[in-house]
Symmetry: C2
Subunit: 297 residues, 2 copies
């Protein structure tokens, strides 16, 4: 197949994928708002000036380079007492890749048309003892069609049990679909989430996958959904483990330095950031991943 | 000339340039320490917990890719009551460019050997009413030999008089050497200091020049020195104008957001940052330009 995939079957798949990303967004937002409402005790008092937060939504439209409608997205942003800043974005965009970019995208060399939909989440927590996190899954269609995504945990103070539980949850999800997935996708995350100039990882890893096109669309979509479900199950557990603990100013300062390195990674290396900026995406949505406050020594 | 420039005449020029960068560094540090010591009144009381600051120096050595000695540099960093964080770095490095990078550098296509020396300064101020600033000048030798540099003002709240005086000082300096320099180098700064994805400039501009090789080495060096001298003359005047004024929390927050965009520029677009990271420079020195604290909405 060398032309952009646009059959009625493909259209139904696109519709189904983008609907699922929006549903996952709704369920994640509900779960995170519940964590905000649950907080009590010392840390709730520390943020007594902030009411238990709710997500605020903001829609945006995208124009393709030639001015044609190119889809759009919805940002969901919450600033609260547990989540200092958490963004959950969904977007469904389509159009033509710019020529120099088309050469880098599978299946877009000869026909630059594309369709892409996904969910992207980054959470920066008030407490330096609660791990920051990133998750995203996406479905992309050119003359090819694939899924991609990943999740990685970014603790300020890595906790062995958290790390083991986060990895185990992802492994269990992967193993339900293909025994090769977890070792491949974990290793990919270890490579991807490196900050080369620092010679260190941005967190404790997770999984990263891209160009997943096994030949069985339903199986690939089921795997992608499973990653989203797994994230929704495991991450709130990790938050609850630590959200009541008191922290020190020194720990806060260390958190701000870690966030500085997170910003370095996202601005210099992150593939989603590059993809978004190069496809005329919504800058506010793309850079929603940046920390609310960061420091450099 | 197609071989790396290494005659005794060129060696004397290199020595003279790197010595001058170090002298300028000393004079700038002295001038900035004087500003720290001068502060009194309300803003001195606000930072009563910080003694009038002095620069701290830290030397670093560079190894070329093959492990051979590749020069090094000295960072000078001050954290004070006027200057929240100011770094003044000098470095003199030499070696061989990596092949993919050599293709991008004038005169390095056939012989990848290089020598580079320079001074680089970025100041982030405590007060949102005192403009942040950047200045750097450098001398680079491959099979060619040139000077480059620039200075730009980054006010949080642009002040017409400051902007006019900063530009006028640079214009006067440029005009002493060549009437074409100021219009060319001002326009270059306007282009260079853009943040394309934001569609805005990182500050109010200044000058930017590169590959300056007029054929008269002494004239080019004299021009480069003049830019350094001009910076040293004008910038402390701008600091003194505003360093005693009180500011609000709202102004501080706006400063942190502006610094977020400054970090975006430096990490995604800045040529010096890219040059440094790609030539195995000292990461701590290269990223000294990043703000002590920055925010994203």
């Amino acid at each position: 197949m060398t032309a952009f995939q646009d059959t009625s079957e493909v259209k139904a798949r696109k519709e189904s994928a983008s609907r699922w990303f929006a549903e996952l967004r709704d369920r994640i937002c509900t779960a995170f708002e519940a964590l905000e409402a649950e907080l009590e005790g010392e840390n709730a008092e520390r943020f007594a000036h902030i009411p238990p937060a709710r997500f605020e939504r903001k829609a945006w439209d995208r124009q393709d380079d030639d001015g044609a409608p190119g889809g759009g997205g919805v940002m969901s942003l919450m600033r609260g007492r547990v989540f200092e800043k958490v963004g959950v974005n969904v977007s469904t965009v389509h159009g033509k890749f710019r020529p120099e970019f088309a050469q880098q995208i599978p299946g877009a060399e000869e026909d630059p048309r594309f369709w892409a939909s996904g969910i992207s989440l980054v959470a920066h927590l008030q407490s330096p003892l609660v791990p920051a996190v990133h998750m995203n899954t996406r479905h992309i269609v050119t003359t090819k069609s694939w899924f991609g995504g990943g999740a990685d945990l970014n603790p300020i103070y890595p906790d062995e049990t958290d790390t083991a539980d986060f990895h185990q949850a992802l492994k269990t999800a992967c193993d339900r679909h293909d025994p090769d997935y977890y070792p491949r996708f974990k290793e990919w995350a270890d490579e991807y989430f490196m900050i080369p100039h620092r010679g260190e990882s941005r967190g404790v890893g997770g999984i990263f996958f891209d160009y997943l096109e096994s030949g069985d669309h339903e199986a690939d979509f089921a795997f992608t959904r499973d990653i989203g479900e797994t994230f929704l199950d495991i991450y709130p557990q990790l938050v609850r483990r630590h959200m009541y603990k008191p922290w020190t100013e020194e720990q806060r300062q260390h958190q701000l330095f870690k966030r500085g390195r997170y910003a370095e990674f996202n601005l210099i290396y992150d593939r989603g950031t590059q993809f978004g900026l190069k496809t005329g995406g919504n800058v506010e949505a793309i850079l929603m991943s940046l920390p609310p406050l960061a420091a450099w020594p």
